[in-house]
C-alpha cells in the first residue's frame, strides 16, 4: 500500500474536501471538449466555439512529433495570457515526474495540471505525488492498472493516452476498450480473485475492489489522443468516454473554428447520428494523420509513463 509518509492510505486520501473539489471540477467538464491551445488567440477561438476548458502547451503534439527536441511546460507568460483571455478553466501540461514544473503551475493558479506523456519525461521511474498539490491533476492511461496507479498517486481525472499528434483514433479506441473491458471483468470476480487481479494490474487492492463494486473508475474517465473529426468524438463517447480532449485535431485542420464547433456539437449529441452528420458536413480538411504502424517504437508517445 502506497503511503504519503504520514500513514494515510489510498482510500483515506480520497476522503476529504480537497479531493471532492478536485473531482468536482472534473465532473463539471463532463460531456464537453477540452482543446489544446498554444496562445491566447487560439484559446479565444476555442472558448467561442464552446470548449469547456483549454489546455495550454508549448507546441501541439503533431508539431512536437515533427520538430523533435525536448518538449517542456509552456512559458508561464503564455499561460497567463491565456488565463487572462478566457473565462473557462485553463489546464497546462507538465513533464511526467517534473514536480517543480507542477509547483510553478500551482503558483500560477492554473485550474488543472496534465502530467503528460506528450512532453518529454523528466523522471523515468516516478510520477508526481499528486496528493501533495492543491491543484487537481489529470493523467493518461492505456489500461486499468495504469489508470489506478495514477489515481493512487492523486490524479482526479483519467484520460486515455491514445497516440497524441497522430490524428488516428485507433489507439484511443484501444485504450478506452481496454479500461472499460477490464472494469467489466472486475465486476464479475470474487474477492479472492480480486487480490490476484490487483497483482496482475499492479494497482492497489482497495482501488481494484472499489472498481469491482462500482463498475467504474472513482474519477471521471475522458478520452484523448487522436480525435480529429466529429465522428471520432461520437465514437469514443459511445465507447464510454465522459468527455474528450482534442489536441492537434483542431488547430492543425484547415478550419479550426468551424471544426471546434462541430466537435463540441458531436460530443453533446454523440448518440444522435443526424446531428453528428450535420456537424460533419461542410467541414474542410481534417489534419493529415499517421498510420500507427508507420510510427517507430521509439517515437510512440503512449509508452512514456508506466
Amino acid at each position: 500500500m502506497k503511503s504519503n509518509g504520514k500513514g494515510e492510505e489510498t482510500m483515506d486520501l480520497m476522503n476529504n474536501n480537497l479531493w471532492r473539489v478536485k473531482v468536482g471540477l472534473a465532473e463539471m467538464l463532463k460531456g464537453g471538449v477540452i482543446m489544446d491551445v498554444t496562445n491566447a488567440e487560439q484559446a479565444k477561438i476555442a472558448e467561442d466555439a464552446g470548449a469547456c476548458a483549454v489546455m495550454a502547451l508549448e507546441r501541439v503534439p503533431s508539431d512536437i512529433r515533427k520538430e523533435g527536441g525536448v518538449a517542456r511546460m509552456a512559458a508561464p507568460r503564455v499561460i497567463r495570457e491565456i488565463m487572462d483571455t478566457v473565462s473557462i478553466p485553463v489546464m497546462a501540461k507538465v513533464r511526467i515526474g517534473h514536480f517543480a514544473e507542477a509547483q510553478v503551475l500551482e503558483a500560477l493558479e492554473v485550474d488543472y495540471i496534465d502530467e503528460s506523456e506528450v512532453l518529454t519525461p523528466a523522471d523515468e521511474e516516478h510520477h508526481v505525488w499528486k496528493h501533495g498539490f492543491k491543484v487537481p491533476f489529470v493523467c493518461g492511461a492505456r489500461n486499468l492498472g495504469e489508470a489506478l496507479r495514477r489515481i493512487a498517486e492523486g490524479a482526479a481525472m483519467i484520460r486515455t493516452k491514445g497516440e497524441a499528434g497522430s490524428g488516428n483514433i485507433v489507439e484511443a479506441v484501444r485504450h478506452m476498450r481496454a479500461i472499460v473491458g477490464q472494469m467489466k471483468k472486475l465486476t464479475m470476480l470474487g474477492e479472492e480473485e480480486l487480490v490476484h487481479e490487483a497483482k496482475e494490474l499492479g494497482a492497489p487492492f482497495e482501488l481494484v475492489a472499489w472498481v469491482a463494486k462500482n463498475g467504474k473508475l472513482p474519477v471521471p474517465n475522458f478520452s484523448a489522443g487522436g480525435i480529429a473529426t466529429p465522428a471520432d468524438a461520437a465514437l469514443v463517447m459511445q465507447l464510454g468516454a465522459e468527455a474528450v480532449f482534442v489536441g492537434s485535431g483542431i488547430f492543425k485542420s484547415s478550419d479550426p473554428a468551424q471544426r471546434a464547433r462541430a466537435i463540441v456539437k458531436a460530443t453533446t449529441h454523440y448518440k444522435d447520428a443526424k446531428i453528428v452528420l450535420e456537424a460533419s458536413e461542410e467541414l474542410g480538411e481534417a489534419m493529415k494523420g499517421l498510420d500507427i504502424r508507420q510510427i517507430e517504437e521509439k517515437d510512440l508517445l503512449q509508452t512514456r509513463g508506466w
Partner: protein, 188 residues
Amino acid sequence: MKVGILAIQGDYEAHAGVLERLGAEHSFVRLPGDLAGLNGIILPGGESSTHLKVLTEEGLFDALKQFAANGGAFFGTCAGAILLAREVHGPAQASLGLLDVSILRNGYGRQLASDVHAGKTKLRKEPLEMVFIRAPIIESVGKGIEVLAEDSGHPVLVQQGRVLASTFHPELTDDTFVHEHFLKRIAQ
C-alpha cells in the same frame, strides 16, 4: 410529475443520480422537443459559456423561455444559476433572465478557491453542505427574490416564484434536501 435535466455538458448525471434516489421521474434535455411533457427542468453545473453556445444553436434558449412562460419550474446549480440570472458579469454574457439577480462568474477566483462549506439555511435547522467549484457570486438581488441561504455574506440559495438557484452543488453531496425542496415547489 416529470423533471428534465439539461444535458448539453456538465454534471447532469449527478443530478440524475439524486432524482433516481428520490424516485422522481426524469429525462435528459438536449433539443427543444425534449421539453414536451415536463413540469420542471434542472440546469446543471458545467461551463455556462458552453451551455449558452449550444442552447442558442439548437433553439433551446427561446424554448426554455417559452417553457418558463408556460409555468415550467427551474432549478439551476452554479452554471445553471448563471444562465437563469437577469444580469451576468465577469465577462458579461446573455442569460435567460428568469431570476432577478446579478451574478459574477468565477466570483471566488480560480479552482484553488474551490471549497466545501457548511452553511445555514432558512429551510431547516441542520446546516447544508455546500460544494463550491469555481463558483459564481450573487452580487445583488431584486425585490422579488427570497434568499434561502447565505455564505460569506453572499446569497447562495435563492428562489423567485417557480425558479430556484444555488451557486453551490447539492448534487455532489449525499444530502437530497435541496432537490426535495425543488420537487415540492413543482408540485405546488
